[in-house]
């Protein structure tokens, strides 16, 4: 059996990689951008120039505005303002269904802030793929499992694991691509394995619900209660009652949470006597998510329940989840996540590219041509389409109706157009053309960051210039002679 093991695993690596590679490329790239989700939202909101914000005052302003304008919504969900994201991000239901908008930290109102999904677009796309529930999440979960499988089989396929770490032979065609692929894989291997597994964990309840089904036998409410004993669910009473003064509730929560502060606030049944306010502590001193939760009675402000997570299995789950979403991460760690994410994106890209490079002699085969064309469309087209999102966001007039929806439609229109272009155009021409387009789009993002006053604009411009330089380099390399495919 030993004789067959490595070839079998290599075969599995190649095939699981090629089947899920394009989807994973888009998932990993959007996930990498999601590391800077609040910063991207801020970049797309040039009106938000305030540097420091009092989180509690911003929350109070948001609650006051929602009480006046969204009292019909069955619930409100708030991500509180932080130094990274100096605005309250609110999620509520209006006559058009659920909407998510940043609220001004002083007025508590979304008016005056342009309608954009900001960084939330990449974050949602990363695991929902713009598909209806649950299909996008299922697909993303399966893709995460496939990534884990491809990584493990890749380690087995890789014969000289540590020796090759110091090997890079540029300009030698297939050999160079394999060297690059190996190097990218080994250099951030712990990150790759961690992010693939924890990514699957975040969606696990969707495709491995069976243990909970077997033990709870359909008692969803009971399971929800056990999962977080401080999450109180009670039906609307029908009797109106205003919320208790919010500053006192915030003060109590801050005292209980200590220096981690309040990260999330849910108000269920606002304006009703059965209103419940649930606050979740921040992530600054714990990797795991939802480590501390408190529920308040809406009309009185009395504490209904408090829960500090100490149960080993749930804590393991929360820590794995927390490792993936990295809300705990201080600045340096966040940059490491971003760079490692780019390395994983490049790992997948080089892997896809190797498929065609190693089959260059079978250039006339339909499958090789199909893979080559999809490679151009996805590897060069996805970054170009994602960069165009930033441009569209700056170009569309601020007051446009359904502006947020229009932005996202533009991204998919551009992405689709690039995929069609890559499908029709000769491959060796399409590579430099779309890569040049991606470079130009990134350079334009740097220009549109003007006047570079805010930190996010300056940092965004620097990243965009670095990416533009990389795409220019790639475009030049790809237009060199003697390239067959």
């Amino acid at each position: 059996m030993k004789r067959h093991f490595r070839p079998a695993m290599t075969w599995l690596h190649d095939w699981s990689g090629i089947i899920t590679g394009w989807l994973l490329f888009a998932i990993v790239l959007s996930g990498t951008l999601s590391v800077f989700r609040p910063e991207i939202t801020l970049w797309m909101q040039p009106e938000l120039t305030r540097q420091t914000v009092d989180s509690d005052q911003a929350t109070e302003a948001a609650i006051a505005w929602l009480s006046a304008h969204a009292s019909d919504s069955p619930s409100w969900y708030l991500d509180t303002a932080t130094p990274r994201a100096p605005f309250t991000l609110a999620f509520w239901s209006d006559k058009n269904g659920y909407t998510q908008r940043p609220l001004d930290p002083v007025t508590g109102s979304p008016d005056g802030l342009r309608d954009t999904r900001g960084g939330e677009f990449f974050y949602r796309f990363h695991f929902e793929l713009q598909l209806p529930y649950p299909w996008g999440r299922l697909l993303a979960g399966i893709a995460a499992m496939a990534l884990l499988l491809t990584l493990i089989t890749g380690i087995i396929a890789h014969r000289r694991f540590f020796a090759d770490f110091f090997t890079f032979r540029p300009g030698k065609g297939q050999r160079s691509w394999l060297d690059a692929h190996n190097l990218l894989g080994v250099i951030a291997l712990p990150f790759h394995l961690m992010i693939a597994f924890t990514g699957a964990v975040t969606l696990a309840s969707l495709f491995f619900p069976w243990s909970a089904t077997a033990l709870y036998k359909g008692d969803t409410a009971g399971m929800q209660h056990d999962l977080n004993p401080a999450a109180i669910e009670r039906p609307r009473s029908g009797t109106a009652a205003p919320l208790a003064p919010f500053d006192a509730i915030l003060h109590t929560a801050q005292q209980h949470f200590g220096k981690t502060g309040i990260a999330q606030i849910a108000v269920v049944n606002p304006g009703d006597r059965a209103a419940v306010i649930t606050m979740t502590a921040g992530n600054e001193d714990s990797i795991g998510i939802t480590s501390h939760t408190i529920s308040f009675d809406g009309p009185t402000g009395a504490i209904l329940a408090e829960h500090i997570e100490r149960r080993p299995a749930i804590m393991t789950y929360n820590v794995l989840y927390g490792l993936h979403v990295a809300r705990f991460a201080p600045g340096v760690t966040r940059w490491l996540y971003f760079v490692s994410g780019l390395i994983l994106t490049a790992l997948i890209g080089t892997g896809l590219r190797l498929w065609t490079v190693s089959r260059a002699r079978k250039v006339s085969h339909f499958s090789t041509i199909l893979v080559a064309r999809l490679n151009v469309g996805f590897i060069a087209g996805t970054p170009a389409a994602f960069a165009s999102y930033f441009l569209v966001s700056r170009i569309l007039p601020a007051g446009l109706a359904d502006r947020a929806g229009l932005e996202i439609r533009c991204v998919f229109l551009i992405w689709g157009a690039l995929l069609v272009f890559a499908a029709l155009r000769p491959v060796r021409k399409a590579w430099p053309e779309i890569l040049t387009l991606a470079a130009a789009a990134c350079a334009a993002v740097a220009l549109f960051s003007a006047p570079w006053h805010r930190a996010v604009d300056a940092a965004g411009a620097i990243i965009a210039i670095l990416l533009a330089a990389s795409f220019t380099f790639a475009a030049r390399r790809s237009s060199l002679k003697n390239r067959i495919i």
Partner: protein, 90 residues
Amino acid sequence: MATTRYRSDIAIRTLTGIAGGYLLAALLSVAIARWLPLPRIEASAAGMLAGLLAWPPLMMTAFAIHSLPRLCAGFALAGALLAVLSFWPV
């Protein structure tokens, strides 16, 4: 013809790995959840994570074992054992 045989071999292994592997992983998650002496929510979470960890190695096993009959027998046996553990009335 060798290619037909090769293709059916691949097809059976893929099906065994994906569907059979998923089924075994799901049964494992239920069996663990039912027999761990922990509160319900803890046991559910532990079982779910175990299932998640089990699926990729099972997929690899479907391609690592050279003899197809032995592979299918092994998966069937493991499935039967886990099914008994999962559905045994307690």
